[in-house]
């Protein structure tokens, strides 16, 4: 392998016909994109961006897998994930006991995904969307029940899914989403 090397450079010289040639080139480019504009605006409520698998969106708990280890709460950089104590009755012995369960405060969450990555049993997962609406601030502090349900995705009910792909000629292109794509 070759190591990097410095290369001295200068600005391109200005020729005699620069004013003419430069203006013409700029205008030609303008005309080209006037005739064939390159647009990829998302017409939002009518369409929505179907994000790829692995997107770090809202977080959901699978309670059956959770082992109450509190790793997620310990690693959370924004202190959004907290453990709450919930008393319950043990099925086998019938005794009263208190268990810790994680809940999340979306007013604080920064969607870094550390909690999902640190969970030893994969009890947490990301849903691949982030455009979720809450009526008020208090609703964003989820309790154990609502933390287990994926948040309501209104845009998916009304819009059609699209996906952005990279094209060699046109940059980012909006294409309709095909079922089953990852």
């Amino acid at each position: 392998m070759v190591p990097p090397k410095p290369v001295p450079k200068t600005k391109p010289r200005r020729g005699i016909f620069h004013a003419f040639k430069g203006n013409l080139e700029a205008l030609m480019i303008g005309v080209k994109y006037f005739i064939d504009p390159k647009r990829f605006t998302l017409i939002y409520p009518k369409e929505y961006n179907k994000l790829r698998e692995g997107y770090r969106g809202f977080i959901v708990l699978i309670k059956q897998k959770c082992i109450n280890c509190a790793s997620c709460a310990r690693i959370c950089p924004a202190a959004a994930m907290k453990m709450i104590r919930i008393p319950e009755v043990d099925e086998k012995t019938g005794k009263q006991k208190v268990k810790n369960w994680p809940v999340i405060d979306y007013r604080r969450c920064i969607f870094c995904g550390y909690c999902v990555d640190v969970c030893p049993t994969e009890a947490l997962y990301h849903v691949p969307y982030h455009d979720v609406v809450y009526q008020n601030m208090a609703e964003m502090y989820l309790d154990l029940e609502s933390f287990q349900k994926p948040p309501e995705y209104k845009a998916a009910e009304e819009g059609i899914p699209v996906r952005y792909i990279v094209d060699e000629e046109r940059g980012l292109v909006k294409v309709p989403y095909k079922e089953g794509e990852k």
Partner: protein, 415 residues
């Protein structure tokens, strides 16, 4: 000019009326104008200029409007929580900004990332660098009144953000490097899409040249404006593309290579003129070199099979489930040790080349779960002094040109 309020609460007879800026008379033919901190031409900073007619005689950059006590906040958090915190200095350059912190802590821990993780770090660093340069072009374009150049780079930046999103799972705040490696491997088909983006960007830079950089109208506004002579650039200690555009060869990737930069074949362009136009050309050439690096990284990643991307110290304690998920999804799960990590006592220093220049981290540990001290010197903080020495002698109209060409980013400077 209704709505203008002077110092005395009413429009004064002697006061100069400039929309969006606050001004007062301080002497015969001498006015003091406060540009910012809300002015679109200055971002979250204020430039106090004193003007005689239309000519700036004195300039004073007044920064600190977005200071967030980031160094102090870092002292109260566990080691790994510093990564999402420090990347908020420059979110569109997140990997470059946090990488030296990760590398400094790795020095203290005495570990090094596996080779594949190093290539993946370089991959995201260069994607971030291109996106950050395009962001700078967009802002510069709208400063000089060229709204096409505002729309185009922001549209093309979306290509790189989409790729970064696919790789890491987040558009801007990736939190991608962790101590001893990275968090995700490349998804299937990623390198093909990356190659398409590289070819697209090469064509696009030629169009940028035609409509903006070589456009006679823009050239007339940028050429020989805001010249930073070579000796002044060294004296002021400015860094990054601005320094290299003044004819000084200094790039951390070249002078003090980190990760795998010493194995990659690329050039460090150095322009001699030091004016606003040279600084734009410098960035255009550097995007070309970043594309070259990305091509090589994509080839390397294709040739080499998937291997662990976390250091053995962490990866060997990972349960079988972690290994299964890494093989199927390419996601390197973190072990709970990360949250309770104790870093050995000591001091470490690391630096990296961000899109705006050199960033240095000094990290000191007292052996606990939290850093004792993290000192950050960011590139924009070092570049801000330029305004004081370059602006005098120019007309007020040249201020946005110079400000845009320096590519100053207030949140990074204020920390």
């Amino acid at each position: 000019m209704s709505g203008f309020v002077s110092t005395r609460g009413q429009v004064g007879f002697n006061d100069l009326k400039i929309p969006g800026a606050w001004s007062r008379k301080i002497g015969k033919d001498l006015y003091e104008v406060f540009i910012g901190p809300q002015h679109p031409g200055s971002g979250h900073m204020r430039i106090i200029i004193r003007i005689d007619g239309d000519v700036i005689v004195e300039a004073d950059p007044d920064m600190g409007y977005v200071h967030r006590t980031m160094e102090k906040l870092g002292e109260g958090r566990e080691w790994i929580k510093g990564i999402p915190l420090y990347e908020r200095m420059a979110i569109h350059d997140a990997c470059n900004v946090t990488l030296p912190y990760v590398r400094a802590v790795e020095q203290l821990l005495g570990i090094e990332a596996p080779l594949r993780a190093k290539y993946l770090r370089v991959l995201l660093c260069e994607i971030n660098r291109i996106a950050a340069y395009l962001y700078g072009f967009g802002i510069f374009g709208v400063f000089v009144g060229h709204s096409t150049m505002y729309m185009w780079p922001f549209g093309d930046r979306e290509v790189w953000i989409e790729l970064a999103d696919w790789l890491t799972g987040a558009r801007l705040t990736h939190s991608y490097p962790v101590f001893g490696g990275v968090r995700r491997d490349v998804p299937a088909d990623f390198t093909n899409q990356l190659r398409k983006a590289i070819r697209y960007m090469r064509k696009r830079l030629e169009e940028y040249r035609k409509i903006y950089v070589d456009n006679p109208v823009i050239r007339a506004r940028l050429e020989d404006v805001g010249v930073i002579p070579k000796n002044l650039a060294i004296e002021l200690g400015i860094t990054g593309p601005n320094l290299r555009a003044s004819g000084v060869l200094y790039d951390v990737r070249y002078n003090d290579p980190y990760e795998v930069y010493d194995e990659l074949d690329f050039e460090i362009p150095v322009f001699q003129e030091g004016d606003a136009l040279a600084r734009v050309w410098q960035r255009v050439e550097e995007i070309k070199q970043s594309l070259r690096i990305l091509e090589q990284v994509a080839d390397w990643l294709d040739k080499h099979p998937r291997e662990p991307i976390l250091h053995d110290r962490f990866w060997k304690t990972a349960p079988p489930l972690h290994k299964k998920i890494f093989e199927t999804e390419g996601r390197a799960k973190l072990v709970p040790l990360y949250a309770l990590l104790k870093v050995p006592k000591g001091k470490a220093y690391a630096k990296a080349e961000t899109a705006r220049g050199e960033i240095t981290y000094y990290v000191e540990s007292d052996g606990g779960q939290k850093p004792y001290r993290v000192r950050i010197v960011s590139a924009s903080a070092r570049n801000a002094i330029v305004f004081k020495y370059i602006l005098p002698g120019h007309r007020v109209m040249d201020l946005p040109t110079i400000y845009g060409s320096i590519d100053y980013f207030p949140p990074e400077a204020d920390r």
